[in-house]
């Protein structure tokens, strides 16, 4: 059983707290992704799990055993680094077999495991090449091969795709997912790219400034963010944050974003929001995908409005339109044939069944 548990884990560098007390339970065979902006503490946390950083406070357990004082070599983990960290003077075969060689594994066993891993990663023809003869993507696969061969309790990935170009990154993402399906090992994966997080993870851990903002499946995080940070971090283009007021009129709640524009609050949320009517510092969170062009048939909780468009960005399969409400720039996604044009007013439809109301003074989603 290779579950990983973090209890009140703290990391201090001199006076600065890089990780400020996090609790996390990772189940066996789970693929969990730590995601967040630079400096949020995700890499530090990963390195503490690996044993490359000392733990200033709290406990980390792997497979039920506390590993705070256990050196990396005895934790039965494998790590894939951002810069691959392949031994330049060894060829691919030797790089992959290094860990087993140190454990005095018999040669035929080493050979079997290396060949097997090479097959999974499709690098069998590269076995006698040196790292400097390989491309970035190939090196990354060798780094993964080195990890797979060890057959550890936990795989740790430290931003492995950051050094690859965009196209290769998409390719490798799929590779990693395929490998996880074949080699079902607990995986902790760190990235700053929320797309990677969403596509790869069983569960996503969003971190910010040394704390965990939210843990949940990609869908949970997308549809039910708990804080403004998570709401703005997940999803691309990012969610629109429009300052607003809650008005009560004739028993119904409306969200007013400007003198001329207000949206009706969906009925199922009225009870939840009524308590906050009249509060200051409220923000309407609405994803660009929920601001689209109008269609013949209008659904409940949708509201049409006309507004002049500032900038149009054609993306091929859709067009992004940018407009301003009371000084806030808002983004919407429309069909490329909907006739959006810069500096012309356009009729848009907002779908409020997916709205979020955020209290900006606490950052929490209401």
């Amino acid at each position: 059983m290779a579950q990983v548990t973090l209890r009140k884990v703290v990391k201090m560098y001199d006076e600065v707290q890089a990780v400020r007390g996090i609790d996390l339970d990772i189940t066996d065979k789970e693929f969990i992704v730590l995601v967040g902006p630079s400096g949020c503490g995700k890499s530090t946390t990963l390195r503490m799990i690996a044993g490359l950083e000392e733990i200033s406070g709290g406990d980390i357990a792997i497979g039920g055993d506390v590993v705070n004082d256990v050196p990396p070599k005895d934790r039965d983990i494998a790590m894939v680094f951002q810069n691959y960290a392949l031994y330049p003077h060894m060829n691919v075969y030797e790089n992959m077999s290094f860990g087993l060689k140190l454990k005095r594994t018999p040669k035929d066993e080493i050979d079997r495991r290396v060949k097997q891993a090479a097959q999974i990663l499709d690098i069998t023809e590269l076995l006698d090449r040196k790292p400097k003869q390989l491309s970035g993507g190939q090196r990354q696969r060798v780094a993964m091969g080195r990890a797979i061969v060890r057959d550890p309790k936990v795989f740790l990935f430290d931003e492995p795709l950051s050094n690859l170009d965009a196209k290769l990154r998409v390719q490798m993402r799929t590779e990693i997912k395929k490998v996880h399906q074949k080699v079902r090992t607990t995986t902790v994966y760190v990235t700053h790219d929320q797309v990677e997080a969403m596509t790869l993870a069983d569960r996503v851990v969003v971190m910010n400034a040394g704390l965990i903002e939210q843990v949940g499946s990609p869908n949970d995080l997308y549809h039910s963010p708990a804080t403004k940070f998570v709401a703005g971090f997940i999803g691309s283009p990012a969610m629109n944050f429009i300052p607003c007021h809650l008005e009560q009129a004739a028993g119904a709640l409306r969200v007013r974003v400007s003198d001329t524009l207000s949206f009706p609050v969906p009925a199922d949320r009225t009870s939840r929001y009524t308590a906050h009517a009249g509060k200051a510092n409220l923000i309407l969170g609405l994803r660009p995908e929920h601001i689209a062009e109008t269609r013949p048939h209008i659904e409940p909780n949708q509201h049409d409005f006309t507004i002049p468009i500032d900038v149009v960005e054609p993306m091929g399969m859709e067009t992004l339109v940018y407009f301003t409400i009371e000084g806030t720039e808002v983004c919407g996604r429309v069909n490329p044939n909907a006739g959006a044009a810069a500096e012309k007013p356009m009729k848009l439809r907002a779908d409020l069944s997916n709205m979020h109301l955020i209290d900006d003074s606490t950052g929490k989603v209401l």
Binding site: Q3, T5, R7, D25, G51, E54, D65, D69, V70, D74
Partner: protein
């Protein structure tokens, strides 16, 4: 998401082995490091320290049976004697002049040669660069004999007596310093991006101005490192002066101390050590103030190859 509570850290074992704290291991590694560093520091610093100790002793104390590692009645007599004695000062002066002039000549030759070799292509430049390196590998101990004879020939043919003058050394020392200084500076100059020159030219500078106003300031660390190295080598030279200068007025410091202060079988150790310490002082002082350049010069030689 619930999990069993984690057992206390100290009691847990993994595969039957106990583990100490990782930070405690690191502390011990640090303590051992310092321990050995102190031992090595003692090894490396004992001779100079002993030189200093001896320089403060009277002749009587030196020949006594007492603890040689301690000074019981310190005295500055040795220093005073040496520094008021004309001979030692002559040695010092000769060394200083020779070293400074060598530095000037060497840097003049090396800087422009390195510049040409690093940034300009001309016929034979690659061969010359390799040749420079090979020259550094030809030791002075190979050349001093033919040079000895060559100087004798110059004397016979032109009547110029090159032997036994301290300024002859100024001709000889550059053979030792120029190759390595050129080599260091080729490395430094080559690492300065060409775009710098091009930008200066577009801004309207002639190439002399580019050299003096842009290039040399940027290359200054390399130039300083080469200068320090050149001075140190010139100051420490022993073989050439030993072979080519004999009268006491022409000697430089290293030779002077070794030959004159050891009169026959009588070694005046107090003065010898004082003389040696003072002789080692200029390089040490430069080192103390410009240590980083010194070290940069050393590592540049082999790594910037």
């Amino acid at each position: 998401m619930a999990n069993a509570t984690i057992a206390s850290p100290t009691a847990t074992t993994i595969s039957g082995r106990r583990y100490g704290s990782m930070s405690r291991d690191r502390k011990w590694a640090l303590r051992w490091s310092y321990f050995f560093l102190v031992l090595f520091a003692i090894f490396f610093l004992t001779p100079p320290i002993y030189m200093f100790i001896t320089s403060l002793k009277t002749s009587a104390e030196i020949s006594a049976e007492s603890n040689p590692w301690w000074v019981y009645s310190p005295t500055l007599a040795n220093y005073i004697e040496l520094l008021t004695q004309n001979q030692y000062l002559t040695f010092f002066r000769n060394s200083a002049i020779v070293a400074v002039l060598t530095v000037l000549i060497t840097m003049a030759i090396s800087v422009i040669a390195a510049f040409a070799l690093a940034r300009m292509k001309f016929w034979g430049s690659a061969t010359l660069a390799t040749g420079v390196f090979l020259t550094y590998l030809i030791p002075e101990t190979l050349l001093f004999i033919p040079l000895f004879k060559m100087f004798a020939w110059v004397n016979e043919t032109f009547g110029i007596q090159l032997m036994n003058h301290w300024w002859t050394l100024i001709i000889l020392y550059p053979t030792l310093t120029v190759p390595f200084c050129t080599w260091i500076m080729i490395g430094y100059f080559a690492s300065i991006p060409k775009e710098l020159d091009e930008a200066a030219l577009i801004d309207g500078a002639t190439w002399t101005q580019t050299l003096t106003k842009i290039f040399i300031p940027v290359a200054l660390p390399g130039i300083i490192a080469a200068t320090i190295f050149c001075f140190t080598v010139a100051w420490a030279q022993f073989l050439y002066p030993l072979a080519f200068t004999t009268s006491t007025t022409e000697l430089v410091l290293p030779v002077g101390i070794v030959t004159t202060l050891i009169k026959g079988d009588v070694f005046n150790w107090g003065q010898i050590m004082t003389g040696a310490l003072l002789g080692a002082a200029p390089p040490l002082i430069i080192y103390a103030f410009l240590m980083d350049y010194y070290i940069a010069g050393l590592t540049a030689g082999a790594t910037k190859g």
